[in-house]
């Protein structure tokens, strides 16, 4: 493999001037150097995966893609931040003694925007490579199919976290500027960040699984929105009815079936937010956390399985 004849660059084209004589008086000439082998470092799979995650994160916001693909993610991000900006303005000019909306409550209020964002950007990471056959080029490279799947999920998780955490951090900064109690605010923001991570993990999982099964972007977007928002609507309806008829346990169990309702349940448990049929009892409360994490884990395992199947197809 180290035959010098193989690693030597190609001989220069005889029609070209000899490089050593072609630069009289230091004039510059562009030479055809022929093919030059690469002798530099080659990174190991972990570094490759990291670079795939970063590229995927950029792509999720349309960076490194066409100008048109930047519009939707940034418009959604702007809408998502607008209430926080307005609250910030009010806080600074009026000087309230508490934030008009809780950190954790914010994501629940803007859940439609969040759902549209995740549903529309998951296909960028999961459907595009399958649809255009680019997956064959990825799989022909050192990164194993499982690492590819996890990297894609991590990119979507990162993008979702940018979406979820930026208003929390903005509100936190405003609350500090408004000289609210630092300990209280830090604790509340911390809880909100923890909840946001749990929500982002399962949203990225659900949207990723749907997008990886559909090579058509439109179908993936509609199906994800349906699962997230309509699913949440059904759960909310069941909760309302169960509360009316005085059987809150039904509502508590129903709440386990949608990421948004899990989020609401845990939020009411940890922040005292007033929600219908909050989980009662240690068993139920533990179940909420376990189901939330298991949902994310299950989706991730499905993704890994999906891309392993694609690899050997």
């Amino acid at each position: 493999m180290t035959d010098p004849a193989l690693s030597d660059p190609a001989l220069p084209d005889p029609a070209l001037p000899d490089p050593s004589t072609a630069t009289p008086a230091g004039g510059s000439v562009i030479h055809d150097l022929g093919y030059r082998p690469y002798t530099g470092p080659r990174l190991a799979p972990p570094a490759i995966a990291r670079s795939l995650v970063v590229t995927g994160l950029r792509n999720a916001f349309g960076l490194g893609r066409s100008g048109r693909s930047k519009v939707l993610p940034f418009v959604l991000l702007a809408f998502n931040l607008m209430p926080a900006l307005i609250i910030g303005g009010v806080m600074v000019f009026v000087g309230l003694d508490r934030l008009p909306i809780g950190y954790a409550q914010y994501a629940s209020t803007t859940q439609v925007l969040l759902g549209i964002f995740v549903a529309s950007q998951a296909p960028v990471l999961f459907s595009r490579d399958l649809r255009h056959g680019t997956i064959a080029l990825y799989l022909a490279r050192p990164l194993p199919a499982a690492a590819y799947a996890v990297s894609r999920w991590a990119s979507l998780l990162g993008a979702t976290l940018v979406f979820l955490l930026s208003p929390i951090l903005l509100l936190y900064a405003v609350s500090l500027l408004g000289e609210l109690d630092v300990t209280d605010q830090t604790r509340d923001a911390g809880i909100a960040i923890g909840l946001a991570v749990l929500l982002a993990m399962s949203l990225a999982g659900v949207a990723g699984v749907i997008a990886s099964w559909s090579t058509r972007r439109g179908f993936a977007v509609v199906a994800t929105i349906a699962v997230l928002l309509i699913g949440n609507g059904i759960v909310t309806a069941i909760q309302g009815i169960s509360q009316e008829v005085g059987k809150p346990l039904v509502g508590e169990v129903a709440e386990l079936f949608s990421p948004y309702s899990l989020y609401r349940g845990l939020m009411s448990m940890w922040t005292g937010f007033d929600a219908p049929t909050p989980p009662t009892g240690v068993v139920m409360q533990t179940a909420y956390v376990v189901v939330f994490v298991a949902l994310a884990g299950g989706c991730l395992a499905t993704l890994v399985h999906r891309y392993r199947t694609v690899a050997s197809a």
């Binding site: 066409s66 056959g133 799989l139 050192p142």
Partner: protein, 304 residues
Amino acid sequence: MDVVVRTQGLTKDYGPVLALDSLDLEIGPGITGLVGANGAGKSTLLKILLGLVPATSGRATVLGHDIVEQGPAIRAMVGYLPEHDSLPPDVSASDFTVHMAMMSGLPRVAARERAAEVLRHVGLAEERYRPMGGYSTGMKQKAKLAQALAHDPRLVLLDEPTNGLDPAARDEMLGLVQRIGRDFGIAVIVTSHLLGELERVSDNLVVLDGGTLLRASRTDEFLDATGVLLVEVLGDDAQTRMSEGLARRGVTATPRGSLLTVGAQSAGAGDVHDLIRDTASDLGLGLVRLQVDHRRIEDVFADD
């Protein structure tokens, strides 16, 4: 020279279809053409060599690495141009090649340099900065070739690189394949169901049929002389007069189009080349061509 690919009893059973049937193969450096009809097992063989598809039984090594245990090491040193479309439409060839070079483990700065260089080699100029969705088939194939070369592989597997190209683009692609193998010093395995084009560019040929090895040898051995000379003469009624003149000297000439074919061993004594020259000279005819008739690869199949 080192063996690039070696397979021993390589079998791939898809259930209803036996894609590869106990294939024993040795492929050396240079350009190797992999020939066979659709479904002969060419693409399956390439995917097994990349470690993408597990073999049912048998062993294989690529660049000295075992396909089962050292898949990532193989994939780091091999470039792959798949048969089907594989380019995202909303990314430029330049950005895409950089990204793919990084996916092969090159650091960002090196990936940028390599991408610029291979895009120049494959002949994508200004269009490299445009989204690939607007590319012609020829440009797409060049972009696919660029990503296969971006990480300076030791071996490239090209699955039907001329598929869907017009004649001019086909010639350009074949010229590139030839440069990769001869000037760049990268081993090439190239598949095609068109025999004529592999005959032109490859050093060695492997012929697959129904998952079994039909023949593997140097390209020139496929094309060895048929023992027939082609003669072309110019003048009034040249063909008939030449044919009669040769017949008088005891040599049978058979017309083939505007040419005459003469058995190379026809003359009992003396060189048949001299005899043809003298005959033409005596008859006052212009001898335009006197050439050994090579077989074409198609003829090899016609024999089987």
